[in-house]
Subunit: 357 residues, 2 copies
């Protein structure tokens, strides 16, 4: 089928074909997990927001934009000062063009979105460069609540897509992966990936780690999203197919889940080619190190866009986030749409946003 | 089919047969809307809780019991001092025996449940005997958020069941029905229905009403549950089948929905025979007054129970609540179980609760 030509398959490619066959034309549900780590407040660590104060509003604003087409917590959609938009734009177009429903889950966001959402009561993670992200009991609570939500949502669909928004999350993901013993180099939302800074933070965090127990690793150097989504994956993958939609942050989830248990036969990771082609990271190798699961990458074709703001994604900006890659893959599997069609829809949305601002 | 013999059909009975045929063996989702009105603090108005201070904990405790099998907010499940349990017991058995998933929605509960739930940010309703329940903008917000949640949940199932827990809610329901011009006599959770007291409160509330505009009626004499669930019904019934699971409170929802619009062809009301047989109320007549929809009542057979606490439901205590009637109907439609089987399961759960306390 021609839609397969749109995807790059890696990890366990046999399983990737089986996974695609089993979910093609089926029902999908997109769950959008928003969270926060104070690690993002370290200057230079993220571009998820125009300035350091506005970073905390990015996750709820992404959720509001996905739902309403505009934000309520802030006046404009999250973007850089020069107009590069949030990857939520890609997710929104993907979900809407395929009538894929979505639910927002607050798993430690500093700010609640102004729409109905699933509340967990989890608190945000602390800055791992100076202190533990969470207490042990907070990690247990996050996993337990993740399991509850994963079980509920998986029972309502054939394939649960899980995306996330946690500014600074690639740094905590890198720390968790290394703490769990994986050889990880992570991607970033910034073209000139601040590798040196990230490694400093990660090394500082790992130096406080006195155990290789997975719960201890996540408590000391992780974030609430990683614990919560791991809980979701562990229960949901027993009930339905699951697409972990994201880049390096979802490999951290996969790494933690490989320690506490999940169903590999029902799980895939889905992301953009901007992640898999990132020379500063080792995404494909990392997935294979961690688990025997299929992985799928999509090139959304944004390099061909007439808008610089969309083209930027293909030039290393943002690359992924808000589950964009996995959402586009699910959207294409459900509708049979090509990346050419997707680019057309994304450009229309970009135009709408810039003329309505 | 024999399962039909378990039900009493009324309202539009032709539509009832069609409705049953269309959802039989399909997927159901139970949504449990918890809320609060200060009207319940008037002495003598409700039995939903052992004493007046504990009433506020009943909705979250019902939610916790449904999910965990025990409560977290309070130490025991909601019950009267002499051991008559919450109708959540019936709902729990119905949902579990048919593997029907459920989600909890906080639409104005004074206390949040200790589990993941859908958060709306709505505030509780005020005591309608002395002041307006809500502002106009709070009513609009409740309807809007109800519409959002109804749309999301209906897209995830073939049939959305909506149940509620709002202590004192039969009084606000009575006021809304009368304010909207329906001839209503409402049921109660107390065997000797405090008709005189309820009518005093309702008359006092209606005397402050200076408009028959439906939004004004709900703002002045209603509660957040009625506004929110009406919003849910209006959007959900465009997408899936909907069972309003409840007694008089759900007729108030139906009354308000009949003013703002909903799809009658996808909507049914489902309740227990303890409601339809209540001589102090006029449930069947009321449903027919309001809308051309099917209605289904189930006799769960609790009069045959060996436990006084279960038998009490058939003697006028509680009668309905937490969507028990609609849940039992959905459970039987999905599994083909009879009320005899249901009684057996309910007695096992009652025994478990009383030996584990």
């Amino acid at each position: 089928m021609s839609i397969l030509n749109e995807f790059e398959l890696f990890g366990n490619t046999n399983k990737a074909h089986d996974f695609i066959d089993s979910v093609k034309t089926k029902n999908f549900l997109f769950s959008f997990v928003i969270s926060y780590t104070q690690t993002c407040e370290i200057p230079g660590i993220t571009f998820a927001g125009a300035d350091s104060d506005s970073i905390q509003y990015t996750p709820p604003a992404d959720a509001e934009y996905l739902h309403y087409g505009h934000c309520k917590t802030i006046s404009k959609i999250p973007m850089t000062p020069d107009g590069k938009p949030t990857p939520a734009l890609l997710t929104k177009i993907a979900l809407e063009s395929a009538s894929i429903p979505h639910l927002v889950i607050n798993a430690g966001s500093k700010v609640s979105p102004q729409l109905p959402f699933i509340q967990t009561g989890l608190t945000f993670g602390k800055n791992i460069s100076v202190e533990s992200a969470m207490t042990d009991s907070q990690v247990v609570q996050a996993i337990d609540y993740g399991r509850i939500v994963g079980r509920s949502l998986a029972s309502l669909t054939d394939c649960l897509i899980i995306g996330e928004s946690i500014p600074g999350g690639t740094t905590t993901a890198l720390a968790v992966l290394r703490g769990l013993g994986f050889n990880a180099k992570v991607s970033s939302s910034i073209p000139n990936n601040p590798v040196v800074l990230k490694n400093q933070i990660v090394n500082s965090a790992l130096s406080r780690l006195d155990s290789d127990h997975p719960y201890q690793v996540v408590a000391t150097v992780g974030d609430p999203m990683i614990a919560f989504v791991t809980g979701m994956l562990s229960s949901a993958s027993e009930i339905s197919k699951v697409i972990l939609a994201g880049g390096t942050q979802m490999t951290a989830v996969l790494g933690f889940a490989s320690k506490i248990g999940f169903n590999e036969d029902n799980t895939a990771i889905g992301t953009t080619s901007y992640i898999t082609n990132d020379e500063s990271a080792n995404f494909k190798n990392l997935v294979s190190q961690i688990a025997d699961i299929p992985a799928i990458a999509i090139d959304p074709g944004l390099k061909n866009s007439k808008y610089a703001g969309l083209k930027a994604f293909s030039e290393g900006f943002a690359k992924e986030g808000v589950g964009a890659g996995g959402s586009i893959i699910a959207s294409m599997l459900k509708t049979g749409n090509t990346s050419t069609k997707f680019l057309d829809l994304a450009e229309k949305e970009y135009h709408r946003l810039f003329t309505s601002l």
